[in-house]
Symmetry: C2
């Protein structure tokens, strides 16, 4: 029986030997476990000619196990961590990629859509928890002022309602969505197509720094990996599968963003599209999708998005295993009081009791408990939610290299 | 057996006694003919209490037959005409209103949707021919610059491809659609909710004058009739049924334009919606329709509209009886040559033959024939379509008071 460390190293070596998403590798790992799968591949025993050639080319360039060891060390130095399916914070819903099949697929990026082997993660929140209530907002890099405005509003509105905003960290729509979420003081996750140490594009460095502080940078590629063109398409399947739904804000005709939405539908998540002026080239792709894809839903704002992602009976999907948080230990009345607190600002005891639907005496008792748990603070103007550090405690303790 | 004149007078009297669209009147006319139906009503023999009360109130105010005679005389003085189902130019497709049933209807305007008894028409084209290849473009009066632009482009593009542009003559989207069609030198029809002698709104008088010159003003109400509020909704069913499809360009939330589109769908025509910026209040109604009405098709321009109205197998619908036009007598090759001519400008013989897919000798022979039929003129720069008068000849000969 292999050790957790050996299995982690094997997964890292496998992601270096072959691109993420390769079905034959996924099936080998499923059958043999990562350690034996790696051994088989390194011994030239890959079941497919093409995979054997890929592995041979890679091993000619370096020792997969040594590369993996260096990658793990580099990850630790970065303050990042590697998350594998064996970890508590592994986002279980990405396993739905097992059933992803794109009709009429012929390109490698459309065919090789297997679930990830592992994730590199930078940021304090446990990955599964961050993705539990999440919506992706994606779209054109060359966004218009209209698209940027709409994406910012969506990012803000979703984060303000405690939904995680997931996107790809690109210029344009992606950046606007991340920024909107950050402005709302909410959680945002950038899923990258390169190493988490050198998030692409460079011009978004300040944005990525802010995301790391309060949210997450996530990648299937090891530190130092370059954002090669096909990797964006490979990455997109994680955005689709890792969230409850994906909203497309702006897209040119036949763009990559429409391809993300087709993955979203194929993996059983909700595909949403924001229309725009028909005079705008940047909305042509959005309108194409609405015309040609009967399962794409037209949405015009946060209310529609929440209606859609609330509708799909997500509870039937595999429940992500998340670490326990202080608020999970609350009794019903304390939870009501906590829910009644505004996201920003404070409320007096009477108003708070009324909003929570409990009597004032109960509210007072529960607020004491919530203060002890550092979830609530008493201020001159009333009771308020504690600043985020209290909510991030669980995140930092769950850190490490998986 | 009554005379055509008596039947015409009876229909006019019936439209004055009761509002157009009243089912009980339609059924009476169907069963007894207009003359006997009028007699029955004037004798107090209406089959329904409510209809009897309506007729009694009207007859207290005047003599229906005398009013009808005055209306016919006034129509002739105006240079307008009355068109009834007995006339060649009656647009047969409006009979599809027989099958119109609006789910959940409770208001009078939603319930009383029977086919028209007669139309008042101003303009030279035969009504049926004008509506044969027609698309309605409707929308908000308080249109934005965006909506006005889109409606103008649609009006222009449809007219440029020889489609008649139908709308309601209102400010905003309607006016823009009419103007676009006029700019393209095409045919446009304004279906009014008042007399054709005093088209509403007054501010559009110059536009209505231009429409009368080359297109049509149409109404179910006699000259002098006022544009009462419910009449716009009653009128809308004619716009829906008289065209092959209706395009909604801009509409506020829960607007009257969305109601037109529900009629369009209920009567079996194609309902099309142009999306807009989600930040615009004037596109809220359009997006509502696209979200809630699965049969509403998103269109972004003329190409999409033509795809939709070409798709519905309109040939299966009752064919409008149209007077024969010179071009109907053409053989296949002559028709090809005629089709190959540009809407504006001229072409040389060689280019024309190539576009038509016939040899030069054939093209020359057919062009002589087309010249004789006054469909084509030879100019210094080549062959060109004859100016509109040649095409309007059939219209003026079919004029008169029906």
């Amino acid at each position: 029986m292999s050790t957790p460390e050996a299995r982690l190293l094997a997964r890292v070596a496998l992601t270096w030997l072959t691109e993420p998403g390769t079905w034959s590798v996924h099936r080998l790992v499923d059958r043999l476990g990562p350690v034996a799968a790696l051994e088989l591949l390194l011994d030239g025993g890959a079941p497919e000619e093409r995979l054997r050639a890929t592995v041979a080319a890679r091993t000619a360039a370096g020792d997969a196990r040594a590369v993996a060891e260096q990658a793990v060390a580099r990850t630790a130095r970065l303050g990042a961590r590697i998350v594998t399916p064996e970890d508590d914070e592994w986002p279980a819903p990405v396993a739905d990629l097992r059933r992803l099949a794109l009709p009429g697929a012929s390109r490698r990026v459309d065919l090789e859509t297997a679930p990830p082997l592992c994730f590199w993660v930078r940021g304090a929140w446990p990955l599964a928890e961050a993705l539990d209530r999440s919506v992706a907002v994606v779209g054109a890099r060359a966004a218009t002022a209209y698209g940027t405005h709409v994406a910012t509003e969506l990012g803000y509105g979703l984060a303000d309602r405690d939904w995680t905003v997931v996107s790809g960290g690109a210029f344009g729509i992606d950046s606007a969505a991340h920024r909107g979420a950050l402005t709302a003081g909410g959680l945002t996750v950038a899923v990258l197509a390169c190493g988490v140490d050198r998030p692409y594009p460079m011009g978004n460095t300040a944005l990525f720094d802010r995301i790391v502080e309060t949210g997450l940078l996530v990648s299937e590629w090891m530190p130092g990996a370059e954002p090669l063109r096909p990797r964006f398409l490979i990455r997109n399947r994680v955005i689709s599968a890792g969230t409850r739904g994906t909203v497309l804000v702006e897209a040119a005709a036949r763009s990559g963003a429409t391809q993300t939405l087709n993955r979203t539908i194929a993996v059983g998540r909700t595909a949403m599209v924001v229309p725009g002026p028909v005079t705008s080239a940047m909305s042509v792709g959005a309108h194409e999708l609405l015309r040609e894809q009967p399962r794409a839903r037209l949405v015009t704002g946060v209310a529609h998005v929440l209606e859609e992602v609330g509708r799909i009976g997500y509870d039937l999907a595999p429940v992500a295993r998340t670490p326990e948080r202080p608020r999970d230990r609350l009794d019903d009345e304390a939870a009501l009081v906590l829910e009644a607190l505004p996201r920003r600002g404070a409320l007096g005891l009477d108003v708070l009791a009324a909003r929570a639907g409990v009597d004032v005496r109960t509210a007072m008792r529960k607020l004491s408990l919530l203060e002890e748990l550092t979830l609530v603070v008493r201020r001159d103007d009333g009771y308020a939610l504690a600043p985020t550090p209290a909510r991030r405690t669980t995140g930092t303790t769950a850190g490490g290299t998986g």
